[in-house]
């Protein structure tokens, strides 16, 4: 059973993704920001990390860069609801800086499972 870490500052999003993944047979851990996520990454061995991009304390792109620095082979899916202040496409930036896949919120659980299957096969 694959172990997945989900990082998102929105607790409803976090819980929804957790329920969706658990119903599909995955083991799930959660963190509410990048800093807490990175602590869990150092202590555990995750098969995949799903991280939001715009978060307080430590945002997603910084989290991806640090996580990849520790473990270059770590698989990451970046998720985001879009830019808050400008036309900069954070998701494309995340992809260039190490995310294996990107998903624009809101997505369905079946879309997410499809991406996970692709990445972990």
């Amino acid at each position: 059973m694959a172990h997945i870490l989900v990082i998102d500052d929105d607790e409803l999003v976090l819980e929804s993704i957790t329920i969706g993944l658990e119903e599909n047979g995955y083991e799930v851990s959660t963190a509410i920001n990048g800093e807490k996520g990175l602590k869990l990454i150092k202590k555990n061995s995750f098969d995949l990390v799903i991280t939001d991009l715009i978060m307080p304390v430590k945002e997603g792109i910084e989290t991806i860069l640090e996580a990849k620095k520790n473990n270059h082979d770590l698989k990451i899916i970046a998720i985001s609801g879009g830019g808050r202040t400008s036309g900069y496409d954070y998701l494309q930036m995340a992809e260039k800086l190490g995310a294996n896949r990107i998903l624009q919120k809101p997505f369905s659980i079946s879309q997410l499972i499809m991406e996970i299957d692709q990445i972990l096969k």
Binding site: S16, I17, G20, S80, G81, G87, D89, K105, P106, I109
Partner: protein
């Protein structure tokens, strides 16, 4: 400025020579009558000859001043409008981000419930309705994101003539029966800095607005697209000189008041009935055209009709 000064000197000389000529005739006239004391001083004539061209020069300066004040007011107005739209764009981007997050639990949880209940379950239709409404909201947010420039559209380009031909076929099939639609597009124009999907979206939005302006009455809508050169001397203030594709959508509909004309590109501004549009179409059109380096103008007379004119820079040959 320099030419005005040269003309002033030349005019003064002409007037001076004219006075000299008059003086010469007067001399002859007085000589014949032995009245030599009336001879006019040449220096006095020279001084007399300057005020007229100077007055002309001052008049021209005043006219130019008036024109430049008008242009400055127009530019300031455009700048204020652009700043207002930029702030609204920032706000819209923030709203889009928040709502996308809020929609995720609704869509994912409704999806899981839908999977787990029988086809005959009384709650099945209710869940389907939740999912459909959430997906509609997702589409609305996607339009807001276009306005807030959260979508990167500059990485692609398309052939404007090809896209227009596709639109022609589409419109001929879907146009309302009250509309006579005419279409005139130059065959070879070139590439514009927009994806084919985005350009199609822009033009179809403009055409649909023209259809709506007829309010179901019999009327005409036309689409004309041609390539033009915008020269440095006679260009619109917002455009740089160069080659542009000009798209003109005309309708013989109800036209717009000056208030509507001013707000047409504002997000969430709509004159349509509730449920017939949220007022994001034209703001998305405006943002897409601006991002592609172009400009869009509205000419409208209330009760007579409207022309929406979009200028899109044509890509230089590489």
């Amino acid at each position: 400025m320099k030419s005005d000064f040269v003309i002033t000197i030349l005019l003064s000389l002409v007037i001076f020579l004219f006075f000299n000529l008059v003086d010469a005739f007067e001399n002859i006239y007085h000589l014949t009558r032995e009245h030599e004391e009336y001879e006019i001083d040449e220096l006095f004539l020279l001084l007399l000859s300057f005020p007229i061209p100077l007055a002309w020069f001052a008049f021209r300066r005043a006219l130019e001043e008036k024109k430049s004040v008008k242009e400055r007011i127009l530019l300031e107005k455009n700048l204020a409008h652009a700043q207002k739209l930029e702030s609204l764009g920032t706000l819209a981007g923030g709203v889009a981000h928040e709502i996308n997050n809020q929609l995720l639990p609704i869509i994912t949880m409704a999806e899981l419930i839908e999977k787990n209940i029988d086809q005959s379950d009384v709650n099945r239709r209710k869940i389907e309705l939740i999912l459909a409404a959430a997906n509609n909201a997702k589409n609305t947010i996607s339009k807001i994101k276009t306005f807030s420039r959260a979508d990167n559209q500059l990485s692609s380009h398309c052939d404007i003539s090809d896209v227009c031909q596709e639109i022609r076929e589409l419109i001929n099939i879907t146009k309302p029966s009250n509309v006579t639609f005419s279409f005139q597009v130059d065959e070879i124009m070139g590439m514009v800095h927009l994806s084919a999907d985005r350009l199609q979206g822009i033009i179809i939005n403009m055409i649909n607005n023209a259809f709506d302006a007829l309010e179901g009455k019999i009327g005409e809508v036309s689409m004309r697209v041609n390539a033009i050169y915008v020269e440095e001397e006679n260009k619109l203030p917002e455009l740089v000189a160069g080659k542009y594709a000009r798209i003109i959508i005309n309708d013989s509909g109800i036209g717009m008041s000056s208030t509507v004309k001013e707000k047409i590109f504002d997000p969430f501004y709509t004159t349509k009935e509730v449920g017939q549009g949220v007022g994001l179409g034209m703001s998305a059109v405006y943002t897409s055209i601006k991002l592609a380096g172009g400009e869009v103008h509205v000419d409208s007379v209330e009760g007579e009709g409207t022309s929406i004119i979009a200028y899109l820079p044509l890509k230089k040959d590489e």
